[in-house]
């Protein structure tokens, strides 16, 4: 296989990032390792979003529909049916894929803003349902889960890191394969891609299913790590905004960029916590500055081609 300069850069970069992430918890306090664990789950959300936005050309304004379904399905099964954590995570993930395919994917056939609108509305509907069925879901307060992934902070950290590695591997594999090329062509100019003989809806559905799978999986694992499932962690609009901001400042169309963006968002958010109500605004302003000076994001600076 022939490596272009940019893919050699990417390989070096991924290796360095992986080594750093593997070694990091040896030097850090449990508290910070815990925070990084959340950031790792969050980066799977962001990568899944980038697959759709950066390659498939679809702006998903409702990533938390997929995440939330995965998380709440897993949590409900754990609380009400008492299934083991592993089974809950698996079924939650499948529910997210199924719900995405049934409710959102049909909009992929339409041109224009329908996909954005449907994804946004789907989140609002999900949020309403959680409130309406508060006796099962805990409503605004959320629900506490009896099951946990692991009691050990280290195990939890490496579980999250393993998920990041698997999903990044799958996404990078897809985007550098012929499918990735066809997806990008369809995003750039759907009619031109169709006129090279590609049924681009098929490819968009594939990308969407993968995005739904990893969003749901990460959402389900996250609630079992946190021990609670609540709207503010996996559904609310502010989570959506954080995902989008993280993907863009990390560097869209790079898959690994969003990992950096997620770490950046979560870490600066924590670091600026003493600002109280202002922390969110401060992160947003920082993100804006990065966007203004480096429109290709953090990864864009590192992986610059020319």
């Amino acid at each position: 296989m022939r490596f272009s300069p940019s893919s050699r850069n990417l390989l070096t970069f991924c290796t360095l990032l992986l080594i750093t992430l593997v070694c990091l918890p040896w030097f850090l306090s449990l508290y910070i390792a815990g925070m990084l664990t959340i950031a790792l789950y969050f980066s799977v959300f962001t990568m899944s979003w980038d697959l759709l936005f950066g390659y498939s050309g679809e702006v998903n304004f409702g990533p938390t529909f997929l995440i939330g379904i995965g998380a709440y399905a897993a949590a409900l099964l754990n609380v009400n049916a008492g299934l083991p954590v592993f089974a809950c995570v698996l079924l939650g993930t499948l529910t997210a894929v199924l719900a995405g395919l049934l409710l959102v994917a049909p909009a992929l056939r339409l041109r224009g803003p329908y996909f954005c609108l449907i994804t946004l509305v789907s989140v609002l509907v999900l949020q309403e349902f959680i409130t309406i069925f508060a006796q099962y879901t805990g409503g605004e307060i959320g629900m506490t889960l009896p099951g946990v992934l692991s009691a050990s902070g280290m195990v939890n950290y490496y579980l999250a890191l393993a998920l990041v590695c698997v999903s990044a591997g799958v996404f990078l594999g897809i985007t550098s394969s012929p499918v990735g090329l066809i997806l990008q062509a369809g995003a750039q100019d759907p009619v031109a891609a169709e006129s090279l003989g590609f049924n681009i809806v098929k490819y968009k559905v594939l990308a969407f299913s993968l995005s739904a799978f990893f969003s749901g999986l990460s959402g389900a694992m996250l609630v079992f790590y946190m021990g609670t499932a609540s709207v503010s962690i996996v559904v609310s609009v502010s989570v959506i905004l954080q995902i989008i901001i993280a993907a863009i400042i990390g560097g869209r169309r790079t898959i690994v960029g969003p990992i950096l963006g997620s770490l950046f968002i979560i870490i600066t958010g924590q670091w600026l916590q003493y600002l109280g109500q202002l922390d969110y605004a401060a992160v947003a302003i920082l993100a804006l500055i990065i966007l203004l000076f480096f429109p290709d994001g953090i990864a864009g600076i590192i992986l610059r081609r020319h």
């Binding site: 012929p178 499918v179 090329l181 066809i182 990008q184 009619v191 006129s195 090279l196 049924n199 098929k202």
Partner: protein, 491 residues
């Protein structure tokens, strides 16, 4: 059996019949050019063949199968290929990767590139003379190479029928010749080609058959020489026939009023991306003059009008009463007293006729506004009957009148009209022509007209500029035009 068999094809957009009962058949190995003035339906016809639009009725048989309802990708798998005028290649991939894309099978679980794809893509690149740029990124290449890359992609599919939309648009005359030769040498002799292009000269030398369309219907079909000699084809391209001598009546237009120079235009170059649309164009318009820019479609007329009104960037300068307008915004230029009636009309579709007119006269006071409205209604009485109707419910002719009326509401010193005759019936043309004559002669309004309908332009103007591939190839008085240029205008 013909490779492509079209019968009774119809396409409507709202109330407009863009394609009317068109029949045609294309045999293996034929190269067919679709020509026609703007609005003739040739692009729509091509879009029906490619599948970008679906017909309202009629049949398209390709290789014996009925395909009029097939999606684009299915047609491609059946043996068609398409080259679009406006291509957006993948800019993060090299030319070679862009060509590889065309060679991939349509399978979702296609994780590895086929082993021979590199060699095949290189071969496709070589056929179009792209071997030196395969590792370059499309963004760094001149426009002509991008077009060649698009053709290479289409030919890489080994189609039996290649459909091309304006393959020569935006290319310089020498690039046109090069591309035509490359396509002819790269294609397999059994491959058929159907193309649409505004550049009639390029089509003429490239094809072995021409189909001429006018307002959606086929008016001629045959050998290029026959078709171009056809009286009806000449009439639709030139307005009325040159041979009938009817245009030798330029006396209807009065002589230019004063020596006051209103517009002094010198454009060195106007480009869209990498395509150069205008080169070294100079035009001077005196107060009271009626000047017309004539030329075939794609010659650059509309771009020239947009340059005057500041809607596009250019190098050079446009002076209004001696003052440069280069740094002004469109709004500032309009306030100098230049009113623009664009080719696409740009009416406010959901506003009524009166509201549209009032938008034009927005800077007038109540009294002036009423007087101006009366003026416009006097010029186009039909608009008075339609005052309360939304603009989109008007017929094409009424919409054109409204466009001109709205421009007049701005109380302009110069009225710029871009193809007001587009797609209009002769009787409407007559009404618009009379109105313009009245404006020019009895009110002394200065008018700049861009027009493809030569008859219409010659009847009204004092001076003529002939625009050919982005340069002025002739200019002077109307009477001289007929003698010196005459019917050499077309081919």
């Amino acid at each position: 059996m013909a490779l492509l068999e079209v019968s009774g094809l119809n396409k409507r957009f709202g109330g407009i019949r863009a394609v009317k009962d068109v029949d045609l058949s294309v045999q293996e190995g034929q190269i067919v050019g679709l020509i026609g003035p703007n609005g003739s339906g040739k692009s729509t016809l091509l879009k029906l063949l490619t599948g970008v639009h679906k017909p309202n009725s009629g049949s398209i048989r390709f290789d014996g199968r009925e395909i009029h309802n097939w999606p684009i990708n299915k047609r491609i798998k059946q043996g068609m290929a398409i080259v679009f005028q406006h291509s957006r290649p993948l800019h993060r991939q090299t030319v070679l990767d862009n060509i590889k894309l065309a060679l991939l099978p349509d399978r979702v679980f296609n994780i590895h590139y086929p082993g021979d794809i590199e060699a095949k893509a290189l071969q496709a690149a070589r056929l179009l003379g792209l071997e030196d740029v395969v590792d370059a990124y499309p963004g760094s290449l001149p426009f002509g190479y991008i077009r060649r890359m698009e053709v290479a992609k289409a030919l890489a599919l080994s189609p039996r029928l290649l459909l091309m939309d304006e393959p020569f648009a935006g290319l310089t005359p020498s690039e046109v010749g090069e591309l035509a030769e490359l396509i002819l040498s790269a294609r397999h002799e059994k491959q058929a080609i159907v193309l649409v292009d505004h550049n009639v000269k390029a089509v003429y030398s490239f094809v072995n058959r021409i189909i001429a369309l006018y307002v959606g219907a086929k008016i001629a079909d045959g050998e290029p020489r026959e078709v171009m000699a056809n009286a009806e084809v000449r009439r639709v391209f030139l307005g009325k026939s040159m041979d009938e001598g009817q245009i030798l009546q330029p006396s209807m237009a009065s002589e230019p009023g004063g020596d006051n120079l209103l517009l002094d235009l010198d454009i060195e170059s106007l480009k869209y991306g990498k395509a150069e649309i205008l080169r070294n164009v100079s035009i001077r318009i005196r107060e009271g003059e009626f000047a017309s820019i004539v030329g075939l479609n794609g010659a650059g007329k509309s771009s020239l009008m947009k340059a005057v009104t500041g809607l596009v960037n250019y190098t050079g300068d446009v002076k209004w009463r001696g003052m440069s307008t280069k740094r002004m915004t469109t709004a500032q230029i309009i306030r100098l007293g230049i009113a623009f009636a664009p080719e696409t009309r740009e009416l406010f579709h959901h506003m009524s006729v009166k509201e549209n007119l009032e938008m034009g006269g927005e800077r007038l006071n109540r009294h002036e506004l009423e007087a101006r409205l009366e003026d416009v209604y006097a010029l186009f009485p039909i608009l008075r009957e339609r005052v309360a109707q939304p603009a989109y419910t008007l017929s094409g002719g009424e919409q054109q009148m409204l466009t001109i009326g709205r421009a007049l509401m701005q109380a302009p010193s110069l009225l710029i009209l871009d193809e007001p005759t587009l797609g209009l019936a002769p009787v409407v043309l007559e009404a618009i022509s009379e109105a313009l004559l009245k404006l020019h002669q009895s009110r002394g309004l200065t008018i700049l007209l861009a027009e493809q309908n030569l008859h219409f332009a010659l009847k009204l103007s004092n001076s003529i500029y002939l625009l050919d591939h982005g340069s002025i190839s002739w200019h002077g008085a109307v009477a001289d035009f007929v003698q010196e240029v005459g019917d050499k205008f077309l081919v």
